[in-house]
Subunit: 115 residues, 2 copies
DNA sequence: GGCAAACATTGATGAACGTCAATATCGGGG
DNA sequence: CCCCGATATTGACGTTCATCAATGTTTGCC
């Protein structure tokens, strides 16, 4: 849970001069972890709602209703997105506000283009 | 098996003037399907190998060894990537050659940036 | 201090997934 | 025509995942 897959410097498993720069196993695992977090329609909607929310942030109570999910399920999805380095959680009082990690979506997109 | 999630024109579920343009349920499902195909380290490595292969294409026999998977498993992963609209399959003789669908990775990246 | 609201965690359950062994299909050569 | 090599399909098995109900934890307020 302490890893931030999006921030890794793209190291290769092989040594020396890479003849064919195809993805190594470790790197592939890290990148797949990011896409795993994105591979759920409800999590995509969560990201979309947070992104288009006024002020760029939303609390759990704002996210439960439009998704038609229970509060524990929404909390679970948000945790996955936070662990993947896509969302940032800030607790203010009783509420937990979630916002997009700046540049995280662009970095994830970069993982795709620079495969 | 006939759907091509990547080629959809991003229609919204709501009607009329979209007050908050957050992702609809149907659109979220289609996009999640693409990321589901990308949410496996071995499939990412398959895409990477095909992309960096000479001529931009590779057959199954070229893909089985570097992934340390059995041939049926590699075929299974390739089918998922083809169904997601990311890979193109062309059968020449006994061999099946796989190549990246032009622009598919960029479109997938676009799904992320334009959430 | 104690209650209520917001959020997180736990446990359980059914579905989806990745993998392999075995088998089937298809194409080329002798 | 039959065999062989390359790929696809099927069936089974263990794991992971999404979801919910129930409960725990923290914070603000009276």
């Amino acid at each position: 849970m302490t890893s931030l897959p999006l921030l890794e410097p793209a190291t290769d498993t092989g040594c020396c001069p890479p003849a064919v720069p195809s993805l190594g196993a470790a790197e592939a695992n890290d990148r797949a972890a990011v896409f795993k977090a994105l591979a759920d329609p409800n999590r995509l909607r969560l990201l979309s709602i947070v992104k288009s929310a006024q002020g760029g942030e939303a609390c759990v109570c704002d996210l439960t209703d439009p998704l038609d999910l229970t509060q524990p399920t929404v909390s679970h999805h948000l945790k996955i997105l936070v662990d993947a380095g896509l969302l940032h959680r800030e607790k203010r009082g009783t509420w937990a506000y979630f916002s997009l990690v700046p540049g995280a979506l662009d970095r994830a997109a970069g993982l795709l283009v620079n495969l």
